[in-house]
């Protein structure tokens, strides 16, 4: 017997129908007057880019003054934990001269927002923040003009503060909300956002530059925020997709009858696509397992992770012309010492905490999908093509989602859910399992990087040949002063589906370059810090390197020798920000473990827009970077991932977090750059260099623990 006096009896055998997200809900969401915005947003959203595409959009597509005094701001950007919701709210508040709490940011709903491009490549800060600021500043000026016209004064005499326009001469004030109620703001907001409007200078920022918290944080800690995988629709089913047993396998036959026989289960086959759906995920799973047993597949041979680096090397398309300076041939001929080394990087997965999820619903030939993707407009276009409907008939909504790290650019789950929903005539949710996410999401590319460096008799670096196979070209160039260089990014034949990741190729290229710089420093008999500084002109990189080293107390700690403890450093630049890290490691020789004990990282990305969020990004990047540096790697054989689980794929946990000292450098005389990626690129090489200092063993392969064990 349950005794609970507060308990209220409820009997449920099925899901209670949830409230339909109707037009009325949207009105509540945006405030009154929204219907205009909805219709305009839909038509304006198509093909217009507000955040970097260059073409300008009407103010109404960006800003809506609600009659209750709040202000809706529309953006195509997606919140996946890196902070654009706070940052873009701050940007709008700054230029509108209102308190940030009044901003209601409407994000990533193709029915409501302009296309700001995919949320990737650290573009929110340099592209979307300015676009939102321009929209907000234009709105402020238009509102000021309306007030001036009403009062028949020169708009230049009016002062805007806290959402009120004030005529200093008469003492009269009018609020934005008053104007929205009285004057024809809708008409005024048809004007285009002005791209040359003056924006608030950094030294006058009131809201930007402060640590505004994520506006919906409270919903997150109370559990009321709905992630893509939390969305439910009336009459919804849970869908499961049949996956091939290995990459490239083709379905030859399958018997669907076992699934069809189960009450409540529906199943569909369309050539290679087989999916079923049921009122619970367990029922859908069981039905899928039953039919999967009857499937016959034609498999193809696949490269395994053990051969992957030789495969990439063999298939490298080196045809491209290297970016070059001087003559490497002459440089190496003049060199008194030449080093030649190859570095390797394994495939890794993003493993955001929330796997891919989507729920799709067809109504009157219109498709609505709630899903977790970085590019809602892109997925809208993909769905329109797949289902051969005009893109106005597809709406993609991305609720703030559970992480991405570059791994959710594509809309696989959205398409799967839409196919099932179409076949079954009911809304269907498809939630990928962790194993599916490990196996079928694209991976960060593996890499083989060949480095050759030449030193003259004074220990100066005079020749540099760097060929990076497969990871992509970001941060491939060397920031060091070297007279003769040849730098080539070569593509190859990737056995795994590969794609973006936090700072993508820069993680591999920086690992190789900064490790190799250490090897060259050792060959030159120089201190790694002094050797770098001697070749470094870029004042921003010098500044972070010197700051990290000073704060870490590099010179003193270099002199200190403790068995199996070592320190290392590395620096780099990418996406217009600069980073340097010093790390201390302790080696457990018996267990072959590398414990990273202390990391001091300095980072600079121009004027800091939100210090607390920036700190989270830098801390997050360092700790995330430790994963692929030490342990993360996809192992595969015969087209199967062997470690598609957190049991065999080891991501950083609490125990792996080192003592973190972070120096955020605020540089106000350059434009702000994005900061969610570059802080990841210095940690792996700093650790590799520390391992060398601790053991005398040079580990040239990520993940490093495996590689170190083989050499211990």
């Amino acid at each position: 017997m349950i005794e609970d006096t507060l308990a209220e009896e409820m009997v449920e055998t099925a899901r209670p129908d949830t409230v339909k997200l109707s037009r009325r809900t949207f009105v509540q969401l945006l405030g009154s007057g929204l219907l205009i915005t909805v219709t305009e947003g839909v038509s304006l959203g198509q093909g217009r880019r507000g955040g970097g595409g260059g073409r300008s959009i009407p103010v109404a597509a960006r800003i809506h003054i609600n009659k209750d005094g709040t202000i809706s701001v529309m953006t195509g950007k997606v919140e996946e934990g890196q902070g654009p919701r706070a940052q873009l709210s701050q940007a709008a508040a700054e230029e509108l001269r209102v308190h940030v709490d009044l901003i209601r940011l409407i994000m990533s709903d193709t029915g409501l927002v302009p296309d700001d491009g995919i949320t990737a490549g650290s573009r929110t800060t340099p592209s979307t923040v300015p676009a939102v600021r321009q929209g907000a500043a234009t709105a402020r000026e238009l509102l000021t003009d309306l007030a001036a016209r009403q009062w028949k004064v020169d708009p230049g005499t009016l002062i805007v503060r806290e959402g009120s326009i004030r005529n200093e001469a008469t003492g009269k004030t009018i609020t934005y909300a008053d104007l929205a109620n009285s004057a024809n703001v809708d008409d005024a907001f048809k004007q285009s956002v002005s791209s040359d409007i003056a924006l608030t200078p950094v030294d006058e920022w009131k809201t930007m530059g402060t640590s505004v918290a994520r506006p919906n944080s409270r919903d997150v800690v109370t559990g009321s925020h709905k992630y893509p995988s939390d969305i439910v629709r009336p009459n919804m089913l849970y869908g499961k997709i049949l996956r091939p047993p290995s990459y490239g396998a083709k379905l030859e036959s399958i018997d669907l009858s076992k699934a069809k026989a189960v009450k409540g289960v529906v199943v569909v086959r369309d050539d290679q696509f087989v999916g079923c759906a049921a009122p619970s995920s367990l029922a859908a799973n069981r039905a899928l397992e039953a039919i999967a047993k009857t499937a016959s597949w034609k498999t193809v041979s696949q490269v395994s992770s053990r051969q992957v680096h030789s495969h990439l090397k063999k298939n490298a398309r080196r045809g491209g012309r290297p970016g070059s300076r001087g003559s490497v041939k002459k440089g190496f001929a003049d060199a008194s010492k030449v080093l030649n080394e190859t570095y390797e990087v394994a495939y890794v997965q993003h493993t955001p905490m929330e796997p891919r999820a989507a729920i799709a619903e067809w109504e009157d030939g219109k498709l609505t999908v709630w899903t977790g993707v970085d590019g809602p407009q892109r997925v809208q276009g993909d769905l329109a093509r797949t289902f051969q409907v005009p893109s106005e008939r597809v709406r993609v909504i991305v609720p703030d989602m559970g992480g991405g790290f570059g791994g959710k650019h594509t809309g696989e789950a959205a398409e799967e859910a839409a196919r099932l929903a179409k076949a079954f005539g009911r809304p269907v949710a498809v939630h990928w399992t962790r194993a599916e996410e490990f196996t079928w999401a694209y991976a960060r590319p593996a890499a083989v990087i060949e480095c050759k460096g030449g030193l003259d008799d004074k220990g100066s670096l005079i020749a540099w040949d760097f060929t990076s196979i497969n990871p992509g070209g970001s941060a491939i160039d060397t920031p060091y002063r070297i007279a003769n260089t040849a730098i080539l990014s070569a593509s190859s034949d990737s056995p795994l589906r590969q794609g973006s990741y936090r700072c993508l190729g820069a993680t591999a290229n920086n690992f190789a370059r900064e490790s190799f710089m250490d090897e060259l420093a050792a060959a030159a008999g120089a201190d790694p810090l002094a050797f770098r500084l001697a070749h470094l002109d870029n004042p921003r990189i010098r500044a972070v390197l010197e700051a990290a080293a000073k704060h870490f107390d590099w010179p003193r700690r270099r002199r200190q020798a403790t068995a199996d403890v070592g320190i290392g450093l590395a620096c780099g630049t990418e996406k217009n920000s600069v980073v340097a890290a010093c790390a201390q490691v302790r080696i457990d020789r018996r267990r072959g473990r590398i414990k990273v004990e202390h990391v001091c990282e300095a980072f600079e990305c121009g004027p800091i827009q939100n210090p607390a969020n920036l700190l989270s990004q830098v801390q997050g990047c360092i700790t995330m970077g430790l994963g692929p540096a030490l342990r993360e790697q996809l192992q595969f054989e015969d087209g199967k991932i062997l470690n598609a689980s957190f049991a065999g794929y080891l991501v950083p946990r609490f125990k792996d977090v080192p003592k973190l000292d972070i120096q955020l450098m605020n540089k106000t005389d350059t434009p702000s750059a994005g900061a969610g990626e570059t802080p990841i690129i210095a940690i792996a090489p700093a650790v590799a260099n520390a391992v060398f200092a601790a053991t005398g063993i040079r580990v040239r392969s990520m993940p490093m623990e495996d590689a170190l064990r083989k050499q211990l």
């Binding site: 349950i2 609970d4 507060l6 308990a7 209220e8 409820m10 009997v11 449920e12 055998t13 099925a14 899901r15 209670p16 949830t18 919140e79 934990g81 902070g83 640590s211 918290a213 994520r214 944080s217 409270r218 997150v220 800690v221 559990g223 009321s224 925020h225 709905k226 992630y227 995988s229 939390d230 849970y238 619970s280 995920s281 367990l282 905490m353 929330e354 796997p355 703030d400 989602m401 559970g402 992480g403 939630h431 399992t433 962790r434 969020n613 989270s616 801390q619 997050g620 360092i622 700790t623 995330m624 689980s645 957190f646 049991a647 991501v651 946990r653 609490f654 125990k655 977090v657 973190l660």
Partner: protein
């Protein structure tokens, strides 16, 4: 075979007639519309699905519904007292210890369970206890601060 199972979810008696082998996580989410507990791995390795069962930290993804019969289940939705957040929730806000926030319900409930058992944990004890909870945004540093802060605040409350 379906069975009738009764749970007390956040103080409310809820009865479901369903397959008792289904994971508690699925039933909370799919039948009872309690979305706070999240799916992260389904095999007890990430902590995203953490709930309290009779006050004890429980991974709902590997708990068959049958094992939860007649038990008190607390999810993130049941922690606050009306508008007043639980000190651990408040500490997560105060420390800004959320990025995407998907791990947050599990983190908070794990921390609540810890502080119930050990109101004055050392950093090592927090790290040890929380090690089963993964945050892929890697916000561990601030989460640790939040747990420390909550511990100090709970102590103050108990003293006063």
């Amino acid at each position: 075979m379906d069975a009738t199972i009764t749970l007390i979810v956040n103080g409310q008696k809820r009865t479901v007639v369903t397959d008792p082998e289904r994971p508690l996580l699925d039933v909370l989410r799919e039948d009872l519309d309690v979305m706070g507990p999240k799916y992260g791995c389904g095999e007890g390795l990430c902590g995203a699905c953490t709930v309290l069962m009779d006050g004890k930290r429980t991974l709902s993804c590997i708990t068959p519904l049958g094992d939860a019969d007649k038990k008190k289940i607390t999810t993130i939705e049941g922690l606050a007292d009306g508008d007043r957040l639980h000190p651990v929730q408040q500490a997560f806000l105060d420390e800004g210890a959320i990025q995407c926030g998907y791990c947050t319900p599990g983190m908070i409930l794990s921390a609540v369970a810890l502080l119930k058992e050990n109101p004055r944990p050392t950093d090592e004890q927090i790290t040890e206890w929380m090690n089963g909870n993964i945050c892929r945004c890697n916000g561990y540093a601030k989460i640790l601060n939040a747990v420390r802060r909550a511990a100090s605040q709970i102590k103050e409350v108990t003293r006063s």
